[in-house]
Symmetry: C2
Subunit: 140 residues, 2 copies
DNA sequence: TATTGTTATACTCTATAACTATA
DNA sequence: TATAGTTATAGAGTATAACAATA
């Protein structure tokens, strides 16, 4: 495969991925703002300090203070003092927060499932094979 | 393919598309803000009125006034009065605007091309086949 | 001294409402 | 009257700087 073909494939693929991502986001009706949702996803796999969240989301510490406060007011996270280091605050997702993730994911999946159902069995199998490669690209 | 398998495939695929889209955006170093870039892409295929741009980008008319003004100041678009309807303003991309698109696309492609180059010939062919199906999903 | 988290302040982008000009 | 575009104003979200508490 020539370099120009690889470029063309790369470009078309990233543009199409972008459009699909944008479309599923729009279709989800966004129950909560994207930056709150993104933090909830981070907390799903375990509690975190505000500092860690700010670094991983690539926002400033004051911005994360506001975001965590908003989630706290909504009841989607709890803040606990860190017993080992008094400067730190542990942020933990609540059952309410997990329910938000379930609902948002359900909405985002709905549009995609509707489209996938219209494909042939062969096409879905093709996408399943391609998915493995795409996941490898993304985690590289 | 069972419904649960379709759901699983749909969900994994949209999440992976989202991560790839986010990654290429972050890697591009954003020469101009996303909302300006998005309008330039719209104008690439032909001139448009401010009203049309606002509708297509799903923002308010005043927001589009600001966006177009910002692009105008940067020299990336020109505003011309509509000869047929004095209320309208025609917005047109300039050569400078087209050069911005070229540079941003080049940056966004770079990360993706680097990853694609590490795949096998067989894997790239698989992605090329899958791309056609993904494009059909997106335009549905 | 360095680090965590917060408050103070300013900037950007957004929306709604009100205004001007044209149809 | 209705529509295109702008200006006025207010509300989110962000960042940098300055601060308090703890290591």
């Amino acid at each position: 495969m020539a370099d120009t073909e690889i470029l063309r494939l790369s470009s078309d693929l990233r543009v199409t991925c972008g459009r699909i991502a944008r479309r599923t986001r729009l279709e989800s009706g966004q129950e909560i703002p994207q930056h709150l949702y993104s933090v909830l996803v981070r907390l799903e796999s375990g509690p975190s300090t505000a500092r860690q969240l700010a670094d991983r989301e690539r926002v400033s510490a004051p911005a994360m203070t506001r975001t965590v406060s908003a989630l706290d007011v909504l009841g989607h996270v709890r803040r606990e003092p860190d017993a080992e280091d008094g400067r730190r605050t542990i942020v933990r997702i609540t059952p309410s927060g997990r329910r938000v993730l379930d609902r948002v994911r359900g909405n985002r999946d709905a549009w995609m499932v509707a489209r996938m159902s219209q494909l042939s069995k062969r096409e879905r199998e093709l996408l399943a094979e391609a998915l493995v490669v795409l996941q490898r690209i993304e985690t590289a």
